[in-house]
């Protein structure tokens, strides 16, 4: 297969399609995943190919959906439970964090829970405070849960395919503002293995760490910085559990400066973990404090202007890097 234009949405659908074609035990359980084709169209037409037995339209019962997936994963299926919005995690977190995440440990290793929780988050649609959150920190904090947050169509495809082969529960968080994003990608071409970050833009002056949609925000900033001769290395983490500390280290030891970018609220968010890690691992190499640029600590407002102001924009990253480098 050669490179072709594909959207993040279609890459996800392709991944589900290919995985389901290859593995009979995969079923998708969620609201509107079948006939409707998914609130954001990711599962469109899959029911035609795989039938209602494998694309299971569920009632509006988030806790039940995730709980059912846990039981199915323990008894021979590989369920993909879909939460329409990551904001609904609060309804199903007991089943995810107390059940799926802990069963292998609590039961002394006799059984695992090979399920994937697919969901999407982030701002961009004026969807308001209950439909625009980035709650990955809740998941990253819980041992037993793998966590992937793809930024590109190629990663959307490969990380989802890989998630559907893993022995432990994976939370797979997409970004609503990326679904329509097109890129030239050869889905047959290899990508870095699960758990390894990718350097999306090389540079020696500063390391910008991001994931999901913020990778593109960081790349915009890097491009602007380039024009004024500043080399920003942009690292796309791809997965948050495991976290690729080695790649972060190698980059920051070289650049001596790090900016971490996350769309989630600043306080106690993923950016804090990244800053703490880099601070620990690269202390002797840092010429400046690790700077966090993250979502404001406010519920996301519906008003478009305020919504955009609530999350990191390229301009602020550029300005921050300039100030760090004093140029």
């Amino acid at each position: 297969m050669t490179a072709a234009e594909i959207t993040y949405r279609d890459a996800l659908r392709q991944a589900l399609h290919d995985a389901m074609a290859a593995d009979d035990s995969i079923v998708v359980i969620g609201e509107e995943v079948g006939r409707y084709g998914g609130a954001y169209g990711v599962t469109k037409d899959l029911i035609g190919t795989f039938g209602a037995e494998r694309l299971i339209d569920a009632p509006i019962s988030e806790a039940g959906i995730v709980g059912a997936a846990v039981g199915a994963a323990m008894t021979g299926l590989r369920p993909v439970a879909e939460l329409m919005y990551v904001d609904f995690l609060g309804l199903a977190l007991d089943q995810l964090a107390n059940q799926a995440a802990k069963i292998r440990t609590m039961f002394g290793g006799q059984i695992g829970v090979p399920m994937v929780l697919r969901t999407q988050g982030g701002t961009g649609r004026s969807a308001g405070a209950q439909h625009s959150q980035s709650l990955e920190a809740w998941v990253m904090h819980i041992p037993g849960l793998r966590l992937a947050m793809p930024a590109t169509a190629a990663d959307a495809y490969h990380l989802l395919r890989h998630s559907l082969t893993m022995p432990d529960p994976v939370v797979f968080i997409e970004h609503k503002a990326l679904y329509a994003r097109k890129e030239r990608a050869d889905l047959a071409a290899p990508v870095p293995p699960w758990g390894q970050a990718a350097i999306r833009h090389a540079g020696d002056d500063v390391t910008i760490v991001a994931y999901s949609r913020m990778v593109h925000t960081a790349l915009d900033a890097a491009a602007q910085l380039q024009t004024s001769g500043i080399g920003a290395e942009v690292i796309d983490l791809r997965t948050l559990n495991p976290l690729d500390v080695a790649t972060l280290r190698a980059s920051v030891e070289r650049t001596g400066r790090a900016v971490v970018v996350s769309e989630a609220h600043l306080t106690a968010g993923v950016a804090a973990e990244l800053a703490a890690r880099i601070g620990e691992e690269c202390f002797d190499y840092l010429e400046d404090p690790v700077i966090r640029i993250a979502g404001e600590d406010v519920p996301v407002p519906v008003s478009p202007g305020l919504e955009a102001a609530a999350i990191p924009q390229p301009g602020l990253i550029v300005e921050t890097v300039r100030r760090m480098l004093r140029r």
Binding site: E31, E32, R35, Y36, A39, D57, P59, I60, S61, A63, G64, D87, F88, L91, R125, S126, A127, G128, A129, Q130, H131, L266, D288, P289, I291, I293, A294, E296, D297, V298, P299, P301, V302, S303, P304, G305, L306, A309, A310, P312, L316, T320, R323, M324
Partner: protein, 340 residues
């Protein structure tokens, strides 16, 4: 529809017309690109439920709604300008432009809030009921939600607490036959929702939302019972005339089903009844409709002109005034970068 001169059909018609006229303008607001986003859920076809139930309430009563709550709030006397401004995300909206269509609320009119979480507002009326009883206030609190919420566990926890504590609470399920693309019988095998409520000890009723007078007639005793400490549940059957949201063309519904569904029109029925009973004339109703249309047109103009929230509003109202507020990113960065 047999004559019930004691029922305020003219008022109910007016309320329903204002709702439909408003919702049509919400659609227009979106088309004109003036709405904040596209998550707009219209209650066209459900006007009978909103008008009928709210007519059974007193001004001091309160309520929460689901994401499809414009009509219910209008039935309680909302100002279309402030509603439309909120849907446009403007500062002069009911929620200063921060809540939008799915989070309209107004304490002055007893609106404890619309909710974007299916079932999210249901337990709040249980708490309101606790307050009213403890504070010796003669008030009822009503939770409005859709058929989809019948499959959310929180509903059962809430109904059980309401009966356990004899609270002045009413649960109203507006069954418009669909939750997004899922027909109600595709979400459950038990479509007679009243049995579930009855099994938890609630007084129940079920009614056709196409007949606004029937809705009021069914709601009144349940509201009165709730006021006396006997929580109730009312299932109102109607049809969602259009898509789930603005982007949804309902490809999952057959044309003839939609046609039949749209014939269950509480406005058309009320109109016929008003004329048949000599309570009004086609001409008078046309004039009323036109007057309402002008009022609702004006709300689009108001929303269009209204100023957006000021940038500093982003950090306002996260906590009460005078309490420590969130530190803006720029302020933090200025401090941190100034030093290093």
């Amino acid at each position: 529809m047999t004559a019930r001169p004691n029922l305020p059909l003219p008022t109910l018609y007016r309320t329903m017309r204002r709702i439909r006229s408003f919702e049509e303008r919400v659609a227009e607001l979106y088309v004109r690109g003036l709405s904040a986003g596209s998550m707009l859920h219209l209650s066209i076809g459900e006007e009978g439920a909103a008008a009928g139930v709210c007519a059974a309430l007193r001004p001091e009563d309160s309520f929460t709604t689901h994401h499809r709550g414009h009509g219910i709030f209008l039935a309680r006397g909302a100002d279309p300008n402030r509603m439309m401004a909120e849907i446009a995300g403007k500062a002069s909206g009911y929620c200063a432009g921060k809540g939008g269509s799915m989070h309209i609320a107004d304490m002055a009119l007893g609106h404890l809030g619309a909710n974007a979480i299916v079932g999210g507002g249901i337990p709040h009326v249980v708490g309101a009921g606790l307050s009213y009883r403890r504070l010796k206030q003669d008030r009822v609190s009503v939770a409005f939600f859709g058929d989809g919420a019948m499959q959310q566990g929180i509903l059962y926890e809430s109904m059980n607490m309401a009966t356990l504590w004899d609270l002045p609470v009413l649960f109203v399920c507006i069954n418009n036959q669909y939750g997004m693309g899922t027909r109600v019988d595709q979400a459950t095998r038990s479509v007679d929702f009243t049995q579930r409520a009855a099994a938890l000890g609630l007084a129940t009723g079920t009614v056709d939302g196409a007949d606004v007078e029937e809705v009021l007639t069914a709601a009144q005793p349940l509201v009165d019972g709730a006021r006396a400490g006997r929580p109730g549940f009312l299932a109102i059957s109607c049809y969602r005339f259009y898509g789930h949201g603005r982007m949804d063309k309902s490809p999952y519904r057959a044309a003839d089903e939609e046609e039949a569904g749209r014939r269950r029109d509480p406005l058309a029925a009320a109109r016929l009844a008003l004329v048949a009973r000599g309570l009004s004339s086609a001409a008078a109703l046309d004039a009323l409709d036109a007057e309402i249309a002008r009022e609702m047109d004006a709300s689009i103009g108001f929303a269009g002109q209204a100023p957006p929230p000021a940038p500093e509003a982003l950090f306002r109202d996260v906590y009460a005034d005078g309490e420590p507020a969130p530190e803006p990113l720029r302020v933090r960065l200025d401090r941190v970068l100034a030093e290093s």
